[in-house]
Each structure stands twice: as C-alpha cells, then as structure tokens.
Amino acid sequence: MIDNILAGSYSLLLHAVLLGLFIIGMDSSSKPHFVAPKKVDIVQATVMDEAQVLEEMMHLQELEDKKLQEEKERQTKVDEKLEETQKELARKEREFLDQQERAKIEQQQRDVKTQQEQDKIKQLEQQRKLEDDKRIKAEQARKVEEDRTKKAEQARKLEEDRKQKAEQDRLLAEELKQKADKKRREAEEKQRIAEADRKVEEQRQRDAERKAQQAEEDEKKRLAKLEQDRKKAEALKKKKEAERQMQDSLAEEFAKEAQEREATRVAGIVDIVVLQIKQKVKRNWNRSGATKSGLEVTLHVKLMPGGDVKQVSVIRSSGNAIFDRSAETAVYKAAPLPQPKDPKAAAELRDFQFVFKPE
C-alpha cells in the first residue's frame, strides 16, 4: 500500500516537472521557480536528463535569436524531442512500475520460503527441548537421591558425636562434684572450730560487761544518794526562806491593801461628786445661742474650797465664741459646784477640765 502511494507521488512529481518544463518552454524569459527535489535518487537521475534537455533548449533559444526563419522547424524538433522525452519518461515509469511489481512478487516468494524454514527450525527446537527436559529431570532425581543418602549419613554421625560428648560431660561433672564435696567438708570443719573460738570469746566479754555494769550502777546509787541528801537540805532551806518571805510580804500586802482601800474610797467619793457636778453644770448650760452642730469646747476650771469658781479658761475653743461663752456661763451659773467633805477627795476636785459638746 505504502509502496503504491510512494509510486503515485513519484508519478505526480514527474508530471509536475514536465509541466514546469512546458511552462518554461512557453515563457523562456522567466526564471525557473522550481528546484528539483533532492530526496529521491531515481528522480535525480531523470532530472539530469532533463537538465541536458534544458541546456539544449536554452541553446536552441539562443539560436532562435539569430535564426528566426528556422524557428518553426526548430520548434517542431523541440516538440518532437519533447514528445520523445515524454515517451521515454513514460517508458521509464512503466519500467519502474514493472520493476516494483517484480520486486514485490519476489519478496512474497522469499517471505513464504523463510516462513517454511522457520517453522521447521521451531519443530526441531521443540524436539530438542523435550529431550533436554527428560535428561534434566533424570539428573535431578539422581541428585535428590544422592542428597538424601548424604543427609542420613550426617545425622548418624551427629548422633554419634552427641553421645560421645554426653559421656565426656558426665565424667567431668562427677570429677567436679568430688572436688566440691571435699572443699565443703574442709570449710565446715574450719567453721566449726571458729564458732567454738567465738563462743569462748563471747562468754569472756559478757563476763567483763557484767562486771562493768555492776560497777556503774554502784556509782550511780552512790551519786543519787548524795543528790537526795543535797535536795533535802535545800528544800528545808527554801521552806525556811519562804516562811520568812511570807511574813514579810504579808505585812507589805496589808499596807498596800490599806492604801488601795483608801484610794478606792477616795475614788468612789470623787465619782459621786463628779456626777453631781456634771448634772449641775448640765442643768445650767443653755446653748441656744449657738445652734450649729459639731461644736466642742474644753475649759480649764479652778475651784476655791467650798466649790466657788476661782477661774475658768478656754483651753480649746470650739471656734464659735457664743458656744464657748455658753459653756463658761454654765460653769459660773452652776457655782458653787458640789464638793466632797473628805479632804483627799476634795483635793482632786480643785482643778480639772470640762469638755462641752451638744451630743
């Protein structure tokens, strides 16, 4: 098929070239546009002939300039030549085609022959392979048998070796055991002797310790007795001391108590009188002049015997003169302030402070 196409292409090409020549022949002034294909050798050969023709044509053309009267004759010649060349080309084409056809048939014949030979070779090859297989299998069987025999022999040998080794081990173990027994017996004997020695030593030590302990205890007893005696003496001394101190402090206590009783008595009187003073001053305090809350004034008051006011002074002012004055006035108005008959209590109420606050 491909060959056919190729053949077709070539014929087309040839036709094209011929046409080109024809055109050139018709218009010799124009330059040739086609370049001969280079790929196909066969065509090249043909073109070579063509080139010759062309040369001749060109030559004729040259002549034409000089010999116009021969023109027609020459034209006819050229035509004849062309026709001839065309015929030649057709012939060559036919030859080429025949040649191809022949080659094809030959090829087919060759292919059939080759196929037959190959089939024969294949048959022979298969036969050979079967024989080889048979041979290889027999060989393998033989080898398996050989291996089995070898392995049995090896096993037997191994068992023999093992038995021999076991016997040797047993003998060795026996020997070791005898040696160990001997060693143990010797060690036992040694230990027995050492134990006896140790026991003797221990007994000796125990005796020594017991003796030392006894001595220590005796010493302790002696010291304890000494301490006891000392303590007894001390306690006795302390007791005597305590008795003496008790007597001293009792006297002191009595004095103190008397003093405290007196202080309490005076304080009691003072308390009562302070309460009386408070009430009397409060009754006389009219703070309506200053109604602002949060005021507080501190006064220092000195009294005369009998409770009359000797002096009133503002120590800390409330900041509100009216309020301060209301407190001072309250003290003056309350005079004479209550006074105790007891001179000691009265002495405490000669000189004191008042703090006035609404709440």
Partner: protein, 431 residues
C-alpha cells in the same frame, strides 16, 4: 519652723501641772431654751421720751423666741451704766445678759441714746454704743439696738430693723374694694401705704438694695409689672405685654427681673434686663404653666413652680434657659418657692390632704419639714438671716401675717388682726 515651735509648745503644755492631773468631766446635752436676759428700762433723766426704746427692744427679743426677758417686776435694781451694776446681784437672778441704757434730750428734737450689754457672769461688756437721732428715728434705733443685742448673744445677724411689704384689702361701703401696698416695721407695726388702687395689687418683691419694690398691679385693667422707688415714690411699668405679666422676682444684683409672661400664649418664665429692656425667655413648655420664679443666691439659676408633671411642683432651671430639673418630690403639691440667703433651704407651700402649709426642704438632703399647722398658709418669704419665714394665713376669713422659725419651734403673729392682709415680702437688710 512653725511646726517645730508648735510641737515644743504642746510638749510644754503636757508638762503643765493641770494637764498632768487630767481629770476631765464631759458635759453633753444642755438645753436650747430661750436665753434669759434682763432689760432694764432706759433712764430718761426726768422727761418722757416719745418712744419707749427698751420696750421695743424687749418686744423684739421676746418675739424672736430666742430670748426670755425677765419680767420687770423681778428686776432688783435699775442701773443705767456699768458703775451702777452689782453683777453678783444679777447673777442671783440667773440672767445671762444685762442690757442697760439711757436717753437724753439734746434739744427739743434730737435725742442722745446710749446702751450697754453685759455678760453677767463674767462681768464684761459685750457691746455698747451711743447715738443721736431725731424723735422720728427712735423706734428704728430701738430695732437696731435689738439687732446688736441679738447678734452679740446668738452670733447671728438680727433682722429687727428690716421691713415687710404686703397687700392690704378693705371693703368700701359701696361694695368696691380698696387695695393698698403697705410697708411696715419687721414687727408689723408702723405700716405706711405706698400705693393704693381699686384694682388688685399682687406679688410685691424687694430689690436687694431695699429701696425698690416690684409688684403686679391691675390698675390698667390687666396684670402689669411695676417697679417703685421707696424714697421718691416714683414708679413705672416695666412689663405690659399682651396677656399675663406677673410674679416679678429681683436678681441678687438688682439689675434683672424674672417674670411670668403669657405673651407667647402660655405662661412662661422670662428674664428682663431693666437697663436695656432686653427680654429673654427661660422656659419653653407650652403644655404647662411655669410661674413664681425666684433667683438662687448664685444668680445663675431660678426656682419656679410648674405643673408640667401633672401637679404643681418646684423646678430649678438655669437663668439662661435649658432643661429644668425637678426639686420637690415630697407630696403632690409644692408651690411658691423662696430660698434662704445661703441657698440651702427652700421654703414653699406644701399641699397635704387638701390643706396648704408652709414647709421647708433641705436642698442637700431633700428632707422636708412642715412648719405650720393652720392649713391655709401661702406666700412664704425668708427673713434675710434665714432664721424665720414670713407668710400669709387666714383667720376668720381674714388674711393675716405670721412668721415661723425654720426649725418650726417659734411661731409669731404679726400686726393687728383687723386688717385683711396677704402677699407678704420680707425686705433685705438695709445697708
């Protein structure tokens, strides 16, 4: 340096003997009764003074509720100056203050008056002065002496020499009425008519100089606001806009008036600048009546009555306008505000069970104290020292004036009872 000095001072103080004893007696409570004071009738050297000065003083001090003057029969002697006083004797009477003085005639018309106030227990003079006045000035001088005694013994400013303005109404025989605007002494005595009209006069309000009064007069057939000068009697209309012109209130500087005007259709609060006549609107509440403005002492805010919340309550608003803030919340009716000079106490008419009482509200705490019991009380007006509140009440279908202390403990009735008086305003302290 000062600190170190103080520290050493205290150290020294601690070492003083009386400090070492440190018996301190604390006195709490005390009474707030009226202060006993002895007022000796002023000597008058053989002539009869046209005014009994000591009687006026005694009445003033007694009426204030802060003093209890000794009855004249208890006075053990009649000294007129310090050399004649035996303090020991006066101490026996338990009186804390002793006021003595005398009046002498310089010529037929001028009198010399002197007084001295003593602390009986300390034997010290607290205050003493000498004056020369015409006969017509004797009563006023007596009030001034009362102020000085009051201040010396309470520490507060006396308001006896201030005045009251009020409206008096009389029925004529032909059935018409006569309205008079009157000014009296602080005790309601010595009333003088400054304006009379057949048409109603309302809402007198004193300027802080005590020389001008603003009020509402219907003399032209509708409510107009007038300003009248006390000395010259000159008066002129300052607000006669269409509709209502009412409730004038002087700004603390005496340059502006807060007014209630309905020229825009609904009663609103306005501020009128008197010199320029410039008027600016303060409230914008066309649904409610805003009225009875009064200036806060800071001059920046106004208190007023409004029923914008449905019932009359008192609100506060910037004098420049803006949002009003409700001030009263106690009860369903609070109106006619007045404010104390320190700006802390609000006086108002407080409605309770259909009756109307004078009440005060502490603006810091919001606490309300009802001061009166009559139930038909109106128009509260603070005394300039903030201790008393003047108001109008009704007795036997007659209006009369009364005053109550801000703590509700002292009640006074002012003036004679045969007049029908209302709309009182307490004057500022005369400068």
């Amino acid at each position: 340096m000062t600190k170190r000095w103080l520290a050493s001072f205290w150290l020294l103080a601690l070492l003083l003997p009386w400090q070492a004893q440190a018996l301190i007696i604390e006195i709490t409570g005390g009474s707030e009764a009226a202060l006993p004071i002895a007022i000796v009738p002023f000597g008058s050297e053989g002539f009869s003074a046209p005014e009994d000065i000591s009687a006026v003083i005694q009445n003033d001090l007694s009426r204030s509720g802060r003093f209890s003057p000794l009855p004249e029969s208890d006075l053990i002697s009649s000294p007129h100056e310090k050399s004649e006083i035996n303090f020991k004797d006066w101490r026996l009477l338990r009186s804390e203050g002793l006021l003595v003085g005398k009046v002498s005639s310089v010529d037929g018309e001028t009198y010399q008056v002197q007084f001295q106030l003593f602390d009986v227990y300390k034997g010290q003079q607290l205050v003493g002065k000498r004056y020369q006045v015409p006969a017509s000035g004797l009563r006023r001088l007596a009030h001034q002496i009362s102020d000085q005694v009051y201040q010396a013994l309470t520490g507060e400013i006396g308001v006896f020499s201030t005045r009251l303005a009020f409206v008096s109404v009389r029925d004529n025989s032909d059935g018409s009425k006569r309205y008079t605007l009157q000014v009296s002494d602080s005790d309601g005595a010595n009333p003088r008519t400054v304006l009379q009209s057949k048409q109603p006069i309302l809402s007198p309000n004193w300027a802080s100089d005590g020389e001008r009064l603003a009020y509402v007069s219907f003399e032209n057939g509708k409510a107009e606001v007038f300003v009248q000068e006390m000395r010259s009697g000159r008066r002129n209309s300052v607000a006669a806009f269409k509709g209502l012109n009412s409730a004038p209130a002087w700004s603390p500087d005496g340059k502006k008036l807060a007014l209630t005007l309905s020229k825009a259709g609904n009663p609103e609060i306005y501020v009128l600048e008197l010199a320029s006549g410039k008027l600016s609107r303060v409230t914008h509440n066309s649904q409610a009546i805003d009225t009875e403005a009064v200036w806060m002492p800071n001059s920046r805010e106004l208190l007023f009555t409004s029923d914008r919340g449905g019932r009359p309550q008192i609100y506060k608003v910037s004098a420049d306008g803006g949002r009003a803030k409700r001030v009263t919340f106690e009860g369903r009716y609070n109106a006619s505000p007045d404010i104390s000079s320190d700006g802390r106490t609000l006086a108002m008419v407080h409605g309770l069970n259909g009756q109307f009482y004078i009440a005060v509200q502490d603006l810091d705490s919001g606490a309300v104290l009802v001061l009166t019991e009559t139930g038909r009380d109106e128009s509260p007006s603070f005394a300039p020292n903030g201790r008393m509140i003047l108001y109008a009440t009704e007795k036997n279908s007659h209006g009369e004036l009364a005053a109550v202390s801000v703590d509700g403990r002292i009640h006074q009735r002012l003036g004679e009872s045969d007049r029908d008086v209302r709309e009182p305003a307490w004057s500022p302290i005369r400068k």
